[in-house]
């Protein structure tokens, strides 16, 4: 029986083509093992063979993710591998994105197992962890020899079609998947046991870890309210009827801004909620209950505030990823700032 065929992805640096001066080269493929591939080949063992190595400049990839991914898929497919592996990327950001994107594309298009490795703060991790098995590495290539065996062992297991255990058991970054399984004790018993361990100060393992959120120092307060422009933003999914921008009712991938100049209130005939995470009856009866346009307009008319900003911004905050939310927030903040808005009321259901 022949060996299992492996194709490996490297950037220009690890492929020993060049450093920063070669970051713009488009993907190419070379026969055989290159650079870190030798360590990987050793870790994989004799039944596996790295038949080819794809090389691409980090900047080229990061600036042309779609084209670069498509090209990588095309190059990889010509070698008909059983598995595909990228990096590891350690803490190199563009390389991490390239490793994640090429794994994701090859996995989807060619339907073969893919693995890469990264440092926990590599920005490529959060973008691709849901689609790709990513093993943790140190933050520098000096530890290559220590980091590669984990990549190799997961790759072998996947390639052989063996069952993959939990992230803790196998040593890869959690992919955010929930798996149903039968256990001896009920959730209530397990929860009480965890609580008892916690009270005793003993270690315990949660079954559903909560994300941790970064803290921001508070902005300086608004000066004179009566001359300020105030904007409304909501995560409550209030949109013009028919949801013209097709904001998703859960896991939103976008936000939208809508003109409210001259409107005194939100009528149920013209506005509705598309949020899929709460009972929409009350919001649909009177959308001002979520986005208080009527109250803001009244306060604008009586001079309490200088002006209500002419647009409001909306998304659906329902299982929406932190990454997406940050992206929306940055874009909204930039628009509000350039419009001279002085303060923001953000409502959440």
């Amino acid at each position: 029986m022949g060996k299992y065929r492996v194709v490996h992805y490297l950037n220009q640096f690890f492929a020993q083509i060049g450093g920063e001066e070669e970051v713009n080269i488009p993907p190419v493929i070379k026969e055989g093992v290159i650079g870190p591939g030798r360590v990987l080949q050793q870790a994989l063992g004799e039944e596996w063979e790295i038949v080819a190595t794809v090389i691409c400049g980090d900047s080229y990839f990061a600036e042309n993710i779609e084209e670069a991914s498509a090209k990588v898929v095309e190059l990889v497919s010509s070698y008909q591998p059983d598995v595909f592996v990228a990096g590891p990327a350690f803490n190199a950001g563009r390389y991490g994105v390239a490793c994640g994107a090429s794994c994701s594309a090859v996995g989807k298009k060619l339907g073969i197992p893919v693995v890469t490795g990264m440092y926990k703060e590599n920005p490529g991790l959060d973008i691709y962890r849901k689609e790709v098995y990513i093993t943790p590495t140190s933050n520098s290539a000096r530890r290559m020899k220590d980091d590669i065996p984990a990549v190799a062992s997961l790759l072998r297991k996947l390639g052989l079609g063996q069952e993959i255990g939990s992230p803790q058991e196998e040593g890869y970054f959690p992919r955010g998947l929930r798996v149903n399984r039968f256990v001896d004790r009920t959730g209530a018993e397990r929860a009480v046991n965890m609580l008892l361990l916690k009270l005793k100060g003993e270690p315990f393992q949660t079954e559903y870890s909560m994300p941790t959120f970064e803290r921001i120092s508070p902005s300086s307060p608004l000066g004179d309210l009566s001359s300020a422009t105030i904007a409304l933003v909501t995560s409550g999914g209030i949109v013009p009827r028919g949801n013209p921008d097709r904001i998703e009712s859960a896991s939103a991938s976008k936000f939208a801004g809508y003109d409210i100049a001259g409107l005194d209130a939100l009528t149920p005939a013209a506005y509705e909620t598309v949020h899929g995470g709460y009972d929409p009856v009350y919001a649909n009866e009177d959308p001002d209950r979520v986005l208080p346009l009527d109250a803001m307009r009244a306060l604008e008319k009586d001079g309490t505030i200088g002006k209500l900003y002419d647009r409001y911004y909306v998304t659906v905050g329902n299982a929406t990823s932190v990454a997406n939310s940050e992206r929306f927030g940055k874009a909204i903040a930039a628009e509000l700032k350039s419009a001279g808005v002085g303060g923001v009321i953000l409502t959440s259901t």
Binding site: F213, P218, P221, D288, V290, P292, A295, L299, G329
Partner: protein, 76 residues
């Protein structure tokens, strides 16, 4: 919201679930009425409901004018 704050624009979170608002890191928080109607109460007559909403919005605007050092929940 944090990105708006980070950009230097004061922002107040009128939030139905204050613990979530605290967890995600809002700095100025005004507790809202309920999840499906954060700034309303369908059990009230229309006039009273409008007044309730006006009061909440005024409170939110006040919160924007207060200097805060850390996460602050503006209760009654």
């Amino acid at each position: 919201m944090k990105e708006i704050d980070r950009a230097g624009l004061p922002v107040v979170h009128v939030a139905a679930i204050v613990p979530i608002s605290l967890t995600v890191g809002a700095n100025r928080i005004v507790p809202a009425v309920a999840i499906p109607h954060p700034l309303g109460n369908p059990a009230l007559p229309k006039d009273e409901e409008r007044q309730l909403r006006l009061n909440l919005v005024k409170k939110a605007l006040q919160a924007l004018q207060v200097e805060v050092e850390e996460q602050t929940v503006f209760e009654e």
